[in-house]
C-alpha cells in the first residue's frame, strides 16, 4: 500500500484486495477500527464477495466467520421481530413504514450487507401513534424507559415513542411518527414522507429511495453525533451508488430535498461521501447543492472535523472534534432554553448517582 486514507477500514472498503497485503499490526488496527464501527461483518462480506476469503490468515477467517454469522443472525432476528410486530398490529390497516436497517434488509439493498442492526424502527402516522403503542403493549411489549422525565422527553420533544422492549426476545422497537425531533431547528412534514412510501408486503412499506437517503443524511448530519459513524456514511455511499443507477434519481433527489427543506444535511452527505469514501456524485449535483452549504467558517470546521471522526478514535484531536460535534448535535436538536434545562436535568441526575 502506497497511499492510505489514515483509516485501514476505509482503504479496505475502497479496495478489498489491500487486505491481502496486511501485516499483523495492520490487521489489528483494521479489525479494531472495524469493531469500533460495527463494520467487521461488512469487511467479511467484502472478503467473501471478492473471493479473497481463502487467502486471508486463518485467524482473520475465524473472526470474519464469527462476524458473518452474527450479522446474519441479527438480520434474521430483526426480520422476525418485524413479523411479530405485524402480528401484534393485526387489524391495523394503515401503513407501517420500516426505517433504517430493517428497510435496507427488506429492500435487499447493498447497505444491508453484513450490517448488524439490533433495533427495529418503524414509522406510523402521528394520529395512529397511541393505537399502535397500545396494541404493542397489549401484545407483551413493555416500556424500557420508566423514568417520568425521560418519558416526557420522548413524548413532547422527540420524533418517536419511548422505546418499547420485548422481554422474551430482547428486542426493542422504536415507533416514529417523523424523522426529526419536534424541537429541532429543522423539522420534516411527516405527511409528505408518507405520501411517497413504497410497498414491501401487505401494509408494510419503506420510504422512497430518495427519502431513505435523506433520512440517513438527516440522522447523521443533523440529529446525530457524527463521531464513530463511518457505518452511517457508508450506508449513504451504498445507497447513492445503488440508486444512481435508477433513471432520474438525481433530479428526484434534488427536488425532494428542496421540497422537504433538507438541503444542508444532503449537502454534507454528498460532500463527505465523495471526500471520504470516493462516492461518485456528478459534478453538477455537487454544484447545485452548493447553495445549501453553511458559511465558510462552519464549513472549514466541518471539513476538518468530519473526516477526522470517521477515522480510528485514537488521536487527541479525535476526542476534541467528537466533543464539539456532540455539542453541535444537541444545539441542533433543541432551542437554547430547553437545551440548558435538559442538560441541567441530566447532569443533576448523574451527580446524584442515578445513572452511570
Amino acid at each position: 500500500m502506497t497511499e492510505t486514507s489514515g483509516s485501514l477500514v476505509i482503504d479496505v472498503l475502497q479496495d478489498p484486495a489491500v487486505m491481502l497485503g496486511f501485516n499483523v499490526a495492520q490487521w489489528n488496527s483494521c479489525l479494531y477500527e472495524a469493531r469500533v464501527n460495527s463494520l467487521t461483518g461488512r469487511l467479511a462480506a467484502e472478503a467473501r464477495d471478492q473471493g479473497l476469503w481463502d487467502r486471508l490468515p486463518e485467524r482473520v477467517q475465524d473472526i470474519f466467520l464469527s462476524a458473518e454469522i452474527d450479522a446474519q443472525s441479527r438480520q434474521r432476528r430483526l426480520m422476525w421481530e418485524l413479523n411479530r410486530i405485524r402480528r401484534a398490529l393485526f387489524g391495523f390497516e394503515e401503513p407501517i413504514v420500516v426505517l433504517k436497517g430493517g428497510a435496507y434488509i427488506a429492500r435487499d439493498l447493498t447497505a444491508a450487507t453484513g450490517r448488524v442492526s439490533s433495533d427495529v424502527d418503524i414509522m406510523v402516522d402521528r394520529k395512529d401513534l397511541e393505537t399502535v403503542e397500545q396494541m404493542l403493549l397489549d401484545a407483551g411489549w413493555v416500556h424500557s424507559v420508566e423514568d417520568d422525565y425521560d418519558q416526557r422527553y420522548y413524548r413532547e420533544w422527540a420524533h418517536e415513542l419511548p422505546p418499547l422492549y420485548h422481554p422474551d426476545r430482547g428486542m426493542t422497537v422504536d415507533v416514529h411518527h417523523t424523522i426529526l425531533p419536534l424541537t429541532g431547528r429543522l423539522t420534516v412534514d411527516a405527511l409528505k414522507l408518507l405520501a411517497e412510501i413504497e410497498p414491501v408486503d401487505g401494509n408494510l412499506y419503506t420510504l422512497s429511495p430518495e427519502d431513505m437517503l435523506l433520512h440517513s443524511a438527516v440522522h447523521l448530519f443533523h440529529d446525530g453525533v457524527i463521531a464513530v459513524s463511518l457505518r452511517n456514511l457508508l450506508e449513504q455511499h451504498d445507497m447513492i451508488s445503488e440508486f444512481a443507477r435508477m433513471e432520474g434519481f438525481w433530479d428526484r433527489l434534488l427536488d425532494r430535498t428542496d421540497e422537504l427543506g433538507l438541503g444542508r444535511p444532503l449537502f454534507y452527505c454528498l460532500r463527505y461521501c465523495a471526500l471520504i469514501l470516493g462516492t461518485a456524485v456528478p459534478g453538477e449535483v455537487l454544484e447545485k447543492t452548493g447553495c445549501y452549504a453553511p458559511n465558510a467558517l462552519v464549513l472549514g470546521m466541518m471539513d476538518r472535523m468530519v473526516p477526522l471522526v470517521m477515522k480510528p478514535p485514537t488521536s487527541r484531536l479525535f476526542q476534541i472534534a467528537s466533543k464539539i460535534l456532540y455539542m453541535r448535535s444537541h444545539w441542533l436538536r433543541m432551542p437554547a432554553g430547553l437545551l440548558v434545562k435538559h442538560l441541567a436535568t441530566k447532569s443533576l441526575r448523574r451527580l446524584r448517582g442515578e445513572t452511570h
Binding site: 499483523v24 489489528n28 479494531y32 469493531r35 482473520v60 475465524d62 473472526i63 454469522i69
Partner: protein, 296 residues
C-alpha cells in the same frame, strides 16, 4: 502490558490484554504463565482492557473497570478483585462474541480421542469434575466452555484456568497434582469465594489437538447420595445440549446439524455423585462400558 498489552493465546482465541493495575497484572501473569503469549503481537480475536475509572479511583478505593469492546455493562469491582473482573471479561467475550464455533456451557474433557461433554448449570459441580478428571489421566478442554467446529462437529480445546468456587477450592487444592498453580483466593465476589487454577501442562501443551464427541454426561453433584449412572434418551441429551448452548440459535442450520451428529454418535447418561472421587469413577466406568460402542 501497560501500553499495547500482551497477546495471549488460549485454544482458538488470541486476546490482546491490557491491564493498568500492577497487582492485577502480576496475578494475571502468574496464572497465565505457561500459555503462549506473543509479545511482538499476533492477530487478536478480542481486546480486553482493565483500567481505573478515573485518576482519583486509581489510587483511592481503587476500582477496576473492564472493557471488552462488546457492549458489556460490568459494574466495576474493587481493584483487589481485579483478577475476577478480568476473567469475567474474558468469559463474556466468548459467551457473547463467539459465533464461529458452537458454544456449550459445559465442562469438556478427553481421553483416547473421545470427548466427554458435561453440560450443566453453574453450581452443578461440572467445573470441579472436569478439573478433577484433568488430574486423573484426562485432558481438559474447558471447565466452562465447550466449543465445537460448526462444519466437522469436532471439539476444540479451550483450557483457560479453572474457576473454582467456595467448597470446591479446598477439594481441588487437595486433589490437584503437586506444583499446580493457583491464584490467590478472592473473597466477597458476587459468587462467594473464587480461586483460579491453571490446568495441567499437558492440557495446555496440546490445546490445538481437537477430538470428536464420545459421550454426553449430565453431572449431578448430590452430597450423601449413592453413586449412580442413569440412562437418558438421545433426545434428552440433544435438548440438554441445546439448552446449554449460548449461540445455537444464532448459528442456525449448521448448529442443528452438528448438534444432531453429536447426539447421534455420543453415548449419554446422567451421573449422580456424592464427591469428586466417586464422580471420576462413574465417568471412567461409563466410558469403559461404552468403549467401541460409539456408533450404536
Amino acid at each position: 502490558m501497560t501500553t499495547q498489552g500482551l497477546a495471549l493465546e488460549v485454544g482458538p482465541f488470541v486476546t490482546q490484554v491490557r491491564i493498568l493495575f500492577p497487582n492485577i497484572r502480576e496475578e494475571f501473569c502468574h496464572l497465565y504463565g505457561g500459555y503462549p503469549a506473543w509479545p511482538e503481537g499476533a492477530i487478536a480475536n478480542n481486546h480486553l482492557s482493565v483500567y481505573g475509572r478515573n485518576f482519583y479511583r486509581r489510587y483511592i478505593k481503587p476500582q477496576a473497570c473492564v472493557d471488552t469492546m462488546m457492549k458489556d455493562a460490568f459494574i466495576p469491582l474493587p481493584a483487589e478483585l481485579g483478577m475476577v473482573a478480568t476473567e469475567m471479561g474474558l468469559n463474556w467475550q466468548i459467551a457473547v462474541g463467539c459465533k464461529n464455533l458452537l458454544l456449550f456451557h459445559a465442562g469438556v474433557v478427553e481421553k483416547n480421542g473421545r470427548v466427554v461433554i458435561m453440560p450443566a448449570a453453574s453450581g452443578s459441580g461440572k467445573s470441579t469434575l472436569a478439573a478433577g478428571l484433568s488430574f486423573a489421566g484426562w485432558r481438559l478442554f474447558s471447565d466452562e466452555f465447550g466449543l465445537a467446529d460448526i462444519d466437522t462437529g469436532e471439539f476444540v480445546p479451550y483450557p483457560r484456568p479453572v474457576s473454582l468456587k467456595n467448597e470446591s477450592i479446598p477439594v481441588m487444592k487437595d486433589w490437584a497434582a503437586p506444583g499446580t498453580t493457583f491464584s490467590p483466593e478472592y473473597h466477597g465476589t458476587p459468587k462467594g469465594t473464587i480461586c483460579y487454577m491453571r490446568p495441567p501442562a499437558e492440557s495446555i501443551n496440546r490445546m490445538y489437538e481437537r477430538a470428536g464427541a464420545g459421550a454426553v454426561i449430565l453431572p449431578s453433584f448430590r452430597p450423601g447420595a449413592t453413586p449412580e449412572i442413569k440412562p437418558i434418551t438421545r433426545s434428552m441429551a440433544f435438548f440438554k445440549l441445546v439448552m446449554s448452548s449460548a449461540n445455537y440459535g444464532d448459528i442456525g442450520e449448521r448448529s442443528f446439524r452438528v448438534m444432531t451428529e453429536i447426539a447421534d454418535k455420543a453415548a449419554c447418561c446422567e451421573i449422580i455423585y456424592p464427591n469428586l472421587e466417586e464422580g471420576i469413577k462413574l465417568v471412567e466406568r461409563f466410558m469403559s462400558e461404552t468403549a467401541g460402542a460409539g456408533d450404536d
